[in-house]
């Protein structure tokens, strides 16, 4: 028998194809470049402040004046990575949607579904392979982002992360992977379910726009422009009955809000006294929504018509 399991074959073949796609490559490069910029901005700001402090401290010490504490050390070094949460929420999620869409549409556009459908493998093997490919690619992107974040934090002068902070950073990377996987899985599901390629791509993008900009307006009265700022996106909701109700009802479904609160908490920039309006914790919300998206993708992939060679026009 062949040495390769069908799931692994489908996953590796699909991932290889998607990596060759220009749109996917462009979005992945954009994501990595933005993460790099985010890390560089954090590094630049901190080292500038640190340099000024060191000069001022030397001057004050020479003048016999008391030297205040280094402001760099007063904020958590993890907060320097806060811009990354915006890039994950915007470019990362979009990249994941495109990856999810392409993983299915490569087979549909190539017209090979009937040739795969008659192979001696369960429909679930095809679904598992596609989901594994998506998770592998998302984890790959997050691994690159994590490598940049770790390098930046190790190179920053005057900053040393504690063991707990390294764990918090790992937690942030994990929830970022979950957030991207959630949208990637929706992309997979839509590409498998939709009759046309355009609908397969537009549907998850519409859901992403709703999650990123409309739900935060309903739960916290946030303007769309505020929603893309890591600090203003964490403003407290107006103290009215409507926002209490919408926060409680829509909060668990607001994946973007859940990600923002969870990442602010893990990266130590959540304003004191502020908490998610949702009735369940942001991390639990993220896990549940990603699992639901996974279930949706699996169902759509296992029920996809293998008789059809390609998308309808």
């Amino acid at each position: 028998m062949s040495d390769f399991s069908p799931n692994w074959l489908i996953a590796s073949q699909s991932a290889r194809f998607v990596l060759r796609e220009r749109t996917v490559a462009l979005l992945a490069v954009l994501f990595v470049v933005l993460v790099l910029i985010s890390a560089w901005l954090g590094w630049q700001a901190t080292s500038t402040v640190n340099q000024i402090y060191l000069q001022a401290a030397a001057f004050l010490a020479a003048a016999g004046q008391p030297v205040p504490s280094n402001p760099v050390l007063e904020i958590s070094p993890l907060a320097l990575m806060r811009n990354m949460s915006v890039y994950v929420a915007l470019i990362g999620a979009l990249a994941a949607i495109v990856i999810g869409n392409r993983l299915v549409s490569i087979d549909r556009k190539a017209g090979v579904l009937p040739l795969i459908g008659i192979r001696p493998l369960h429909r679930s093997a095809y679904a598992d392979g596609k989901i594994a490919a998506l998770l592998g690619l998302v984890l790959g992107l997050i691994a690159v982002a994590a490598l940049m974040a770790v390098t930046t934090l190790l190179l920053l002068p005057a900053l040393r992360l504690t063991g707990a902070q390294w764990l918090q950073l790992a937690g942030f990377m994990a929830i970022s992977a979950l957030y991207m996987a959630c949208f990637g899985l929706i992309g997979l599901a839509a590409a498998a379910w939709a009759k046309s390629e355009t609908v397969g791509l537009l549907l998850p993008v519409t859901l992403w726009l709703t999650a990123s900009f409309i739900l935060p307006q309903l739960t916290a009265n946030l303007n769309p422009t505020a929603a893309i700022n890591p600090i203003s996106a964490l403003a407290a909701a107006p103290d009215t009955g409507f926002f209490h109700l919408s926060g409680a009802l829509l909060g668990p479904l607001s994946v973007a809000d859940a990600y923002k609160f969870a990442s602010a908490n893990l990266l130590d920039y959540l304003p004191q006294g502020l908490s998610s309006p949702s009735v369940i914790s942001p991390v639990a919300s993220l896990i549940l929504l990603t699992l639901a998206a996974g279930g949706l993708a699996w169902r759509a992939l296992t029920r996809m018509a293998m008789t059809q060679g390609e998308f309808d026009v």
Binding site: Q13, F17, L115, I118
Partner: protein
């Protein structure tokens, strides 16, 4: 009496209230080259999709090599090869890469060696390292046949295999079908429009009209009764509504 390779019992497919296939029942023996004739929309492709386990029937049942298409789909898939009407492959990959992928998915032992063997068998080893994107219809059809026989199936399903082929391509296809049937004992189930191909290749035929089986017999019986190819064409036309209209006109 040879064993039945394909047994179909009241196989029915209904799409949104429209009966595409209406209680089809027939038996095809092992080693036959079976020609399935019918007008466009008669239900030939629908039948083939159900027999290849790509679609589930609304009712009825069928077995391929003794395996039920609904309850034992994996065993059916191990026993069959399928060439769709328009062979579509991964265009950015070479012919050999495409075949290797399908061979591995089929669980073929020593897939690389098998791909080389099949390409040699179909006289298309020269296409192995060429990208599929530049292939003609005839070349695609050959690679389509190659992917269908990689795992040495007992039954080969062909959906309009000669559609769009030039005379050379049609002759090549006929030769390949004959060799696969004669040398490897493969049972061939072929959907087609071409009466001439039926007469030259098939051992039995059936005619489908508006989802109903209207004729099924061995080719010797058909030729004995109707004589030559022209008479066979007249038989086919008399059994299909378009044919009857054409005859009236």
């Amino acid at each position: 009496m040879p064993d039945p390779m394909i047994t179909i019992d009241r196989l029915t497919q209904v799409f949104d209230g429209f009966t595409a296939l209406d209680a089809l029942s027939m038996t095809i023996e092992a080693g036959e080259v079976f020609g399935f004739l019918g007008h466009n929309g008669a239900g030939k492709t629908t039948t083939l999709q159900m027999l290849t386990t790509l679609a589930r029937p609304s009712s009825g049942s069928a077995t391929i090599a003794g395996h039920d298409i609904c309850t034992d789909a994996l065993a059916v898939r191990r026993s069959i090869g399928y060439v769709p009407e328009n062979v579509r492959l991964y265009d950015t990959m070479t012919a050999a890469e495409n075949l290797l992928f399908f061979a591995r998915l089929s669980g073929v032992d020593k897939p690389k060696a098998r791909v080389a063997e099949v390409l040699e068998l179909l006289d298309c080893a020269a296409l192995a390292s060429a990208r599929v994107a530049g292939f003609s219809k005839g070349m695609r059809q050959r690679i389509g046949l190659a992917q269908a026989i990689l795992h040495q199936p007992k039954v080969l399903f062909l959906d309009e295999p000669s559609s769009g082929l030039d005379p050379m391509g049609i002759k090549m296809l006929r030769d390949v079908i004959t060799r696969l049937n004669r040398d490897f004992g493969m049972t061939i189930f072929m959907n087609t429009h071409l009466i001439s191909e039926i007469a030259k290749t098939c051992t039995s035929i059936a005619v489908l009209s508006h989802g109903k089986l209207v004729y099924h017999d061995r080719i010797e019986a058909v030729t004995a009764r109707y004589g030559d190819e022209a008479a066979l064409e007249a038989l086919y036309l008399s059994l299909t509504p378009q044919g009857r209209l054409a005859q009236v006109a």
